[in-house]
Symmetry: C2
Subunit: 353 residues, 2 copies
């Protein structure tokens, strides 16, 4: 899922997302709550209509940003108190509030509010985060309007396999009555608390051990991950969905993903390179422009540098996922994954990005 933090994928218009075959995008509840705010989102008929995006939209709960952006915060049973990263004003987010904001956003898939500890973390801290996250998940499930968006639960537990498995079990079997007395389960299960300080090689074996314990008949979503390698390792473990700002953030910095490896487009070596960024890519950028021109736009800090680079990087990630899907359907995913990892080992820095 391309990430559209405050209601726009940075530098990319909805028609470009459609052109590149994006099937779903992500919005950040915390950012949208601060700007434009719940009332505006509600008045404007929700984010999808407002931003002219016709596909589905997933929103996080706001929890991750509360923990990553806000230096001053206080977790209580009722919710989390914190200060806006923009103006320092005091805010309070409860599980119910998160759901209400996500319903104002008119999200297609909502996420429960959770507590996400940075890694490394002590077992006791991980257990506390799980316990409160479980109670908050249940409150979300009770509070949401069952006729509105789908709702996914979030598993915590750091790199502790037993904690992870126990939390998966607790959330997968959870049922809660809505306001009309009808019982509901979660529509999907997500893994939170990865890519928060640990090494990729610490994450992969944990994923391989715990993902099979997640329900096979519901989407499995690995939050905030990751690099091309992370995606293939995640898929190998059984993950269905990912989101990450990497493709767009790196695009703006001039770090581009190609089938021949990573390209640092500002480099002198591309000054008069008349080849497209990636001859095997069908995106608007690769169809129309050379590396030489892209380098120039980046050197001049032109806005179109960000636009063209973001279109390409997102196209690269989406194509990688389409290729993985095809490989799975054709029963050759293991070979596909090995080939790509081999390519990336030969390419420039591709495994580190």
């Amino acid at each position: 899922m391309p990430v559209g933090t405050v209601g726009t994928v940075k530098a990319v218009l909805p028609r470009d997302l459609e052109d590149m075959g994006a099937q779903i995008i992500l919005g950040n509840t915390y950012h949208l709550w601060i700007r434009p705010g719940e009332e505006t989102l509600k008045t404007m008929g929700g984010l999808r209509k407002w931003m002219s995006w016709t596909g589905p939209l997933l929103t996080d709960s706001g929890g991750f940003q509360v923990f990553s952006l806000s230096k001053i915060r206080k977790i209580r049973e009722e919710g989390v108190e914190f200060r806006s990263h923009l103006d320092g004003s005091k805010l309070f987010m409860s599980p119910e509030k998160s759901i209400e904001i996500q319903e104002a956003i008119a999200s297609t898939i909502m996420m429960v509010l959770d507590v996400c500890p940075a890694l490394p973390a002590a077992r006791e801290q991980l257990q506390d985060a799980i316990d409160i996250s479980t109670r908050w998940a249940e409150r979300c499930l009770k509070h949401r309007d069952p006729d509105a968006g789908a709702l996914f639960a979030i598993v915590q537990g750091g790199l502790d396999r037993d904690l992870r498995r126990a939390h998966i079990e607790a959330l997968s079997s959870m049922k809660a009555a809505d306001r009309a007395g009808n019982f509901h389960e979660f529509d999907g299960i997500a893994l939170g608390g990865f890519s928060v300080g640990e090494k990729p090689d610490e994450m992969y074996p944990v994923l391989r051990d715990i993902v099979p314990a997640m329900p096979a008949d519901k989407p499995r979503y690995l939050m905030g991950v990751g690099t091309p390698r992370d995606l293939l390792e995640g898929v190998a473990a059984g993950i269905d969905m990912f989101d990450c700002v990497l493709p767009t953030r790196n695009a703006r910095n001039g770090t581009l993903y190609t089938s021949d490896g990573a390209v640092r487009i500002r480099s002198q070596r591309y000054q008069r390179d008349s080849a497209p960024l990636d001859a095997r890519c069908a995106c608007y950028t690769c169809k129309n422009f050379t590396k030489s021109y892209l380098r120039h736009l980046h050197h001049c800090n032109e806005i179109t540098a960000s636009t063209l680079s973001s279109i390409h990087n997102l196209s690269y990630f989406l194509q990688l996922m389409r290729d993985a899907r095809t490989a799975i359907l054709e029963g050759r995913f293991a070979e596909f994954r090995n080939e790509r990892l081999e390519d990336w080992r030969r390419g420039e820095e591709m495994l580190k990005l």
Copy 2:
């Protein structure tokens, strides 16, 4: 002509320029000389190919930027010595050099190198600028490859009608032999040295007096102008071509042109305004987004704010010119102009932008 200073119209992709019906764009020789430089432009087959723009391209001579951006400069008969506004390095631009760079750019319409004094200026200073500009114009006409781009002359003379008319006459009748001994005239005549410090109401009567003296069978181009009002007053005087950064620069600042007047899109009043920016506009922005959403993007300093706003403002200016052309062809330009001026007087600040 939308302005694409360093080889891209800021925030706007070539396909958007095509969509909005742009027939020609402008590039700045001074900027392109500094970055990416003559050799790169030549190697890459010229700017149009490099930037994937299939329409015609006009380039200025670099003279205006030498005078407006460079604080340290020295005009000699041979050319102008100045320092780069980027790194302070010493550069020397002669009429011949300007033509060579514009031919490396593979420009469709090139401009002669001229000396452009800021206004107000003494008559003697205006006369000196005219004299050297005339000699430089002749050197450009001699030096250019007649099989390459067209070449326009530039008339100086400030607000002095007699100086202007004499310079028009000198340049209109100028013929110079190319390297093969064949004589050539200029392919069009431009007015430089307007919109450089004088008031609009000082420029209009001068235009009305001098433009009729310009050859009627060649394009008449008013350089670096201007506001919507400037365009209609220029057309009324007999001008055919304009260029200006106003639509794109104002777009990035959140000042938008609409058929209901100027819109300062950051204003609180648009927070929940669910109307398009301009209901009578057919651009991508107006077809897909509300004022509320555009305001939000500007408040969040999102790149897409610049893109969507630039697409709209350029569309507004191009539509204004198409409407003026239709009105001329239908013999009702005077009414058209009066109606628009009347609209703008009622609208918000439209006459001041």
